[in-house]
Symmetry: D2
Subunit: 254 residues, 4 copies
């Protein structure tokens, strides 16, 4: 059990994890009991999940050219480390048939949708149709900004990985920005997507040391290593119901 | 020996540390030999120091109300961990006679100058007179911005500690800024002072993890711990001639 | 609220922290209510503390020649960072009157007891008398092994700082052991004292990177920095009732 | 350029990295020049490599049932992150044809040799034949102890990954040992193999925080993540000629 009560606010956040026996407490009753409990406390939000009984969270993954986060996510999923079902991968970047991502997806029967975007056409309507029915969406280095109307239409959570230590280095080329700023530590940030670019509630951040010996290229390599871990950690925490929105721009991560 | 050669630039940076015998190689000749060597290579800058023979670097410390960095610096100095002579401490904040900083300074015969500042009078002329003859100046949480003309007049290095992970959270109240931004990592940055606020070349950065449980107060406490270590590390590296300016906004830290 | 239930064991550990109003819930009743609660659950142990109302934990500190941990502890205490009362400092190492520890203790009216030990006489009886009435004892680099009968007679918790990453490098000269082993990371461990040397339940561990450039001397300096932080963290957690014994050799640290 | 001179020893270690133009300085002459230089200084060992010109280091990988390190290594190799040629993978554990390691190896034409071992037959002669011609060997969680005669016959470096923070937790089940010891930090160690079990010179060590909430299972998961990074880092450093043996049980890692 973990309970968090912010100072001077009439609200509390709580997460409980327990050994569950569906014979002693049928799944339906469990649901009803928690719903009643949540009504008692006037809870804005209440979720119950039974890992091995309930269907896994269904997600879509959006990516662009860079595929280190996408492939890492697929690999962890294959290893049973990410408790999700991947409905499809959508990319604005084409990949040949024998590309290792393509091969992986074909082997596991996961559709790959290539939707090239232009400045005038973000293909958002088609993306919305493809991600229908998902529980949340992951942006694994998707280099397009999603519009406010897209976010509104989808209405569910979208988790992004940014290859900079937000709020530093928002926007494009954060590794280059960090390199030019002469920082001694670089980082990655996983966060929820909001209408404000790279400013949604932060879920997880990780850092690594750099020095004058590091080149822009080695900044990128170190950053990619952080991005993979930081995104996987955020997805895992989210699926385990550890991540709760808190105030306007914050998260509780139990 | 450590040598750093940036890609595609006709320059190199080098630092050598060796066991030195003044009988075999008199201090004067050492100086001349390195000067010649530096002329050979057209070096912009060349410094030689013999730790136990040469006078220690003379510094002045500027502080305001917060004294965790100041006192930590004094304590490390007393322990023989910082190879400097402290000519004086200057503060725009008054301290009673029995304050632990005051007592420490009196015991060690280090003058304390109280120079209250106003928005119209930064007392920069008096500070300039007090820091004359120092080798560099340390800002141990001095909460005043030094003017361009001050920096020009002094003409030597000034090391500042900023309680945020630059370039995030420049300016005032970085802990509050970080707290409001909902970050999961906070940091401290020691850097050289330039005319651009909190944008001088970074010497060292350190981070610590925070969570939703942290309050603004605990952000401050964790930050203070980082600031002390980050400033002491920068001063130590600087005195050991490990820190070299590199390009416009960077440092080489050997 | 934090609750921890180990797998397959019929026991749970819990810690609650809340805003307390003594007018609405008198201190006496608070005590009784929690005692009843603890009886309900058959709790082996139950502690309630009201930080600003209850007397602070009373401790004695034992030290030897090295005083970095001792002085750091005193300094944090002076800064109000360690919520304890220090009844006395006991050392088997003499210190002159003008030593900075001695001066500090005199200024704050804390007795300093010099009890030189020999292999035949550990002065344990005198120590027991001096630490009578304390809530727990801190070994701030006390280089003597306390006997089983001493531990039994005192009967309360004793927190030690070991300058190695236990269970590596038990016993004497852990920095030298680590140096000779060619490790790339060194550490410090704060733990409870038991009859088995350096094998009591671990409360906190911290590490720092070392390289081939580090000397035995720099191992010691880096280690001292870790020891101070690691010991202070353990004492603070202990005083906030965050540290619970768990199984034979473990701790829960909420 | 990096030079390391141990105190009070008549030896130095040096590594230089420079932009090389084979037209101005033919590869043969480069070799001869460095050989002469190394004779000048009476060097015990001297190696020169031109990354894009010289053949890559040829390695064999030995693994057992656990394949997280093996697969991570293969994946990094495919990504061009590990500058080696993999001559073969040898395992004392069978894998079906459609296993993801097997598929990967078939796709890239790397032979997989299944050599089941018994307590009486370690198959060392066959392994020696298979690894003939390699530059070094990697043990990616190979759970067999190689005999002294094997090490002698092979005569070149063997890099092992140990899933514990050596010298703690040598031998079998280090995660279980660490779990039972109640540590608050777990680690992984990559090191050279010598005749003494898990006691060869350490190349790299990494740690991660654990708490009372961690189970033996989560110790293993966290450890695997460390092992992969720690082994890859060691191999990369080794191939870049950064790792030099130093004294009996140490390494210089430039």
């Amino acid at each position: 059990v973990d309970v968090f009560v912010p100072d001077d606010k009439h609200v509390f956040y709580s997460r409980s994890e327990f050994t569950y026996n569906p014979k002693l407490w049928p799944r339906d009753e469990l649901h009803k009991d928690f719903l009643n409990l949540s009504h008692c406390f006037g809870a804005q939000r209440s979720t119950v999940r039974v890992p091995d009984l309930d269907p896994k969270y269904k997600i879509s993954v959006l990516a662009s050219k860079q595929d280190h986060c996408l492939f890492d996510l697929l690999y962890r999923w294959q290893e049973g480390r990410l408790p999700v079902d991947i409905s499809c991968v959508i990319s604005n970047h084409d990949r040949p048939e024998d590309n290792h991502v393509q091969r992986f997806l074909q082997r596991h029967g996961i559709p790959y949708h290539y939707l090239p975007t232009t400045s005038g056409n973000k293909r958002e309507q088609e993306i919305l149709e493809l991600i229908e029915g998902t529980d949340f969406v992951v942006l694994a280095r998707y280099m397009q900004i999603l519009s406010e109307s897209f976010l509104k239409s989808y209405g569910k959570d979208i988790i992004n990985i940014h290859h900079g230590l937000l709020p530093s280095f928002k926007g494009g080329h954060p590794s280059r920005q960090a390199f030019n700023a002469g920082v001694k530590l670089i980082g990655a940030t996983s966060h929820f997507v909001t209408t404000e670019l790279d400013a949604g509630p932060i879920i997880e951040q990780m850092v690594e040391r750099v020095s004058h010996r590091d080149t822009l290229q080695s900044f990128v390599v170190k950053s990619e290593n952080l991005e993979k871990q930081c995104l996987a950690e955020a997805i895992k925490s989210y699926c385990e119901l550890r991540v709760l929105p808190y105030e306007l721009k914050k998260t509780v991560v139990f």
